[in-house]
Each structure stands twice: as structure tokens, then as C-alpha cells.
Amino acid sequence: MIAKFSLTGKICFWILVLMYAAAIFANFICPYHYDDEDRDYSYCPPTAVEFKDHDRWVHPFVYGRRLTFNEVHRRVYVKDFTQKYELHLFKMGRLLSVDAPGRFYLWGADARGRDLFSRIWYGARISLSIGIFGVLISFILGLIIGGIAGYYGGWIDQVLMRICEMFMMIPGFYLMLALRAVVPENFNSLEVYASVVVILALIGWASLARIIRGMALSVRERDYVLAAKTFGVPDIVIIVKHVLPQTISYSLASLMLTVSSYILAEAGLSVVGLGIQDPIPSWGNLLSDAMQIVPVIFAPWILLPGLFIFIAVVCFNVVGDSIRDVLDPTFNESSTNL
């Protein structure tokens, strides 16, 4: 299937693969643990890797940093040429690292001197997985409820669809906030994660169920569904085996598009401080550090998590579009013929 994607589709697919790989292997590629702080390095800018020492090529190293204050008493880090720390490859199970007391900030540090690079990839574990799990749940809910509503029709359809509309009627973000308010505040991080997954699933299943229901309504008129009924096959078997598989091409594409909206929703929840709690990073709560203008002006690298949210969302949307184009080749033709 990937071979049939457009060029942008392929690029986005491989970017996603890379990002997921980075998230999975975060404890290998990141120089520090996500909560490894050093307050002497608050908002330390990205560390330059040096390859030359006195115009000679040497093993890559970084200089130490010395904290000074400028004329308006703002922190300025200057290179301390007396301290050199060699970059180690594969030391202590880390891809790149430097010996303490040296610090290696590839993408800068946050307010507490934690490495942003490490926090972004540990955070990717949360941000990139929460959408997937949320989508899986709403997908299962949507398939079952949409399938039942479309297959049976009549009052069952009416009741289920009115329930769906009740969920769709409330603006997603406010529904999310309301649901989050129900969750006890003394939850540990895993429980918060699970509750965010459930909250995401609850805001998204309704629209999927409605569309599956529409497709099931048309599939149930097919002869083989009638044939299965005349052979006394139980309804649930007919729904699962003969009706729902017909909706899979649409569902796959919409799955991808929903993942991206869930990534955004989790980020939104975390930015306002209701999602995953510090010190566990997620792209949303990393970005919440960038809510005030002063740190952004003096440490613009704290906006980086936003860039990754952007990339992930765009990639999921493009891949979703590509899947739809591959599974439904007539879609593009008909839209250009209009």
C-alpha cells in the first residue's frame, strides 16, 4: 500500500516511522533521563558541538558553560574554554553523552535545566501513543454502535444516533474539559494517561459511528446480507463478518485523520495543565512552558515541541489522505471532474 502513496505521502509516512522509532528508543537516543535536572543550567541555549581544537580535527567535544549576567541582570551562558567534555558514543546505554559535570543540550534546556531533546522524545512516547490508543477505543465503539444502528435501523438506529448527536452537539474542547473535571485529581501518571485516552475516545466515537452507520445502511441492502439472513446466520455474525469489513477502507483513512486530531486534543489539554503532569513530559505540557512571552523571547527553543506537534499532525493527515486515495481511486477523479 505504501508503494502506491504519492511522494508527499511516502515522505510523511517515513517521518512518522522515524518519530515513532525515536519515541520507542528514547532511552537510547536521549542523552538524559527526562527528569534529569541541573538548575545551574536554567534556559541554557543549545550546546554547539566542536570538531576543531586550535584548527586541528579532534574527537567531537563540547565546552563547559559559565553563567554570567549582562547589564540588565539577565542570564548569559558563555563558553568556558578551560573545560572540555568529549562526546561519548554508546556509553552507559546512551547514544551520545558527556561526562559530568559537563552538560550536553542539543536543543537547549528548560527552566529547570532539563535537556529539551530528551524531554521531547520521552514526551513523544505519550503524545504519539495517546492518540493511537484513543482512536482504537473510539474506533471499536464507532464500529460496534454504527454497525448496530445501521444494520437494524428503525428505533434502535434512532436512539443510538440521538445519543451520538448529544456527544457531537457539545464543542469538543469543552466536553473534554468537562470530562477531565470528573477525573479525580489524585491520580498517578498512568491513571491520568488512561483517563486522557478514555476522554479522547469519548469525544471522537460519535462522528465515526455516524459515518459507519451510513455505510452499514447501504451495505445491509446487499444480496449477500439478505442471503446470510435467509440462512439463519446470527445478526452479530452478519454485522461483524459481512457488514463492517465493507467499511474498512473508509475507516482506515478516517482513523489516521482522527489520530491527528487526538494528538492536538491531548496537547490542548496538557497546555492548559489538565493533561499529563510534570515531570512526565508530553508535547502539550512541554509547550505550556512557552505560554509566557518572556521565556519565549529569551529561550525560543522551548517552542520546539510545538513544531513536533505540527509535523506529527500534518504527517498523519497526509498519510490518511494517501490511504484514502489508494483505497478509493475514484475519489480524486470525481472531485477534479466537478
Binding site: G154, D223, Y224, A227, T230, F231, G232, P245
Partner: protein
């Protein structure tokens, strides 16, 4: 007489319009009864009424459908489901659309057996091969593994019949089983129905093909716009039609 299926005063309506008006006829054990008539005469509607699978807009206004001593119209959905496929098999006009394209023939026959019997997977496999060979498919194992589109039209129709007889029903409803097949295949499918008759399986044949009725049917019911205009033994009705509409049909056929 040993009546397997008795239809009494069956009336099917959509809104105020009557599609079938007080139709009554019987199907005896081991007999082939044909319902004949032009398009829109209500043939298929009667067939689907027996299984209580009419489209939602249609309703059975009156009448009784007594099958094996019980009125099918009074059964609950579970009791009906237990009879569909197990006691009454259905053969459709277009097997290509009546089989799900995503599953093999074998899987779809297996599904019917799984729904109605407590056989193990192995027993169901044997039974599926058995019914596939009963309908004289040359290579039952290959047919078992084939998807509907991989078989020819004649083979698909045989597989359809195999699915209908998988649970050894006492009645088969065949809705124009040969109208999409060429003449030589029609002869072969007719032969299969004759074999089923020797096994005491009754067939309700829905068709507009008087040639097929002539060859196969014991009795015939002629429908015109939902009304039974004539019924009787097939040879007699075709030889000496009484009703003017039956006469038209017979003349058109000759």
C-alpha cells in the same frame, strides 16, 4: 395429504397497495411446486414472506404460513432464525451477489453449519465437502477454497444450492435459480433439483420460465398482480390453461 407448507390467505401490502392478495397454496413433502407469473406479480414477495424477511416497507396484512405444523408468522425472531437455513434453504437468482466477495465458498457454507449445528470444525469441513459433491461440483476441495468470483456462473449456482442444502432442510425456496444461466447449465441445475426431490426435499420454485416448470414442477401456481389466477398440476395447467392470463403465458412460451 402430507402438507409441508400451507399458505392461507397471504396478503402482503405496501401502504394501501396489495402486492399479494389472499394467496393460498400448499407444498407437499417431496414435491416441486412452482410459482409462475410476470415481473411484479408478487412471486419473490411470497418467497421472502415465508422467511419473514420482507423489506421494512412491506408488511404481511393477513394470512397464515404453516410450515411443519407451525405458523411461521407467529414465531419470535429466535425461533425464525433457527428455521432459516436449517429447515428452509434459499437459492438466489444471482449467486455472485448472494455470496460475500470477501469469503471463500467453504467459509460461507461453514458459517451456515456453525449457526445451526453443534458440529466440530472438522465435521463441518467434511459436511461442506459432502454437500459440494452432492451438487456435482467437479472438485469440491477446490470449490471450498475458491472465492465467489473465481467460479463460473454455473458452479456458483451449484455452490449456492450446496449452501441451501447444507443443514438438510425439508424445503428449498429457489428464486429464479437458472434465469442467468445458459441453456445447457439450466438443464444441469434442473437435474440437481430432481435429485433433491428423490431425497424428499421439497422445492418452491419461483420462476417465469414455463420450460423449467414443464420439466420439473409437480404443481404450479400462476400469479397475476398478486392474485392467484390458477393452480393445479403442472402438466394439466400447461396443457389446458383455463385462465386467460395463463393462456397468454403458455402461448408466449410456445
Amino acid at each position: 395429504m402430507n402438507e409441508l407448507l400451507t399458505i392461507k390467505d397471504l396478503t402482503v401490502a405496501v401502504g394501501e397497495k396489495l402486492l399479494v392478495n389472499q394467496a393460498s397454496f400448499e407444498v407437499s413433502q417431496g414435491k416441486i411446486v412452482a410459482i409462475a407469473g410476470g415481473s411484479g406479480s408478487g412471486k419473490t414477495t411470497i418467497g421472502l414472506s415465508i422467511l419473514n424477511l420482507l423489506p421494512a416497507a412491506l408488511r404481511i396484512a393477513r394470512g397464515q404460513i404453516i410450515f411443519e405444523g407451525q405458523d411461521l408468522l407467529r414465531l419470535n425472531s429466535q425461533e425464525l432464525r433457527e428455521r432459516r437455513g436449517a429447515r428452509i434453504g434459499m437459492v438466489f437468482q444471482e449467486p455472485l451477489s448472494a455470496f460475500d466477495p470477501l469469503f471463500t465458498i467453504g467459509q460461507q457454507i461453514d458459517e451456515v453449519l456453525a449457526a445451526h449445528t453443534s458440529m466440530t470444525k472438522q465435521e463441518r469441513y467434511q459436511q461442506t465437502l459432502e454437500v459440494l459433491s452432492q451438487v456435482e461440483l467437479p472438485d469440491p476441495k477446490r470449490a471450498f477454497q475458491s472465492y465467489p468470483h473465481q467460479l463460473s456462473g454455473g458452479m456458483r449456482q451449484r455452490a449456492m444450492i450446496a449452501q441451501a442444502i447444507a443443514c438438510s432442510p425439508s424445503l428449498i425456496i429457489a428464486d429464479e435459480p437458472t434465469s442467468n444461466l445458459d441453456v445447457t447449465l439450466q438443464v444441469k441445475i434442473n437435474a440437481i433439483f430432481k435429485v433433491l426431490k428423490t431425497k424428499n426435499i421439497s422445492t418452491l420454485l419461483i420462476t417465469h420460465d414455463l420450460g423449467m416448470i414443464n420439466q420439473l414442477a409437480d404443481e404450479v401456481v400462476i400469479l397475476r398482480q398478486g392474485n392467484v389466477v390458477e393452480k393445479g398440476s403442472a402438466s394439466q395447467v400447461i396443457a389446458t390453461p383455463i385462465d386467460p392470463y395463463t393462456r397468454q403465458l403458455v402461448e408466449a412460451f410456445q
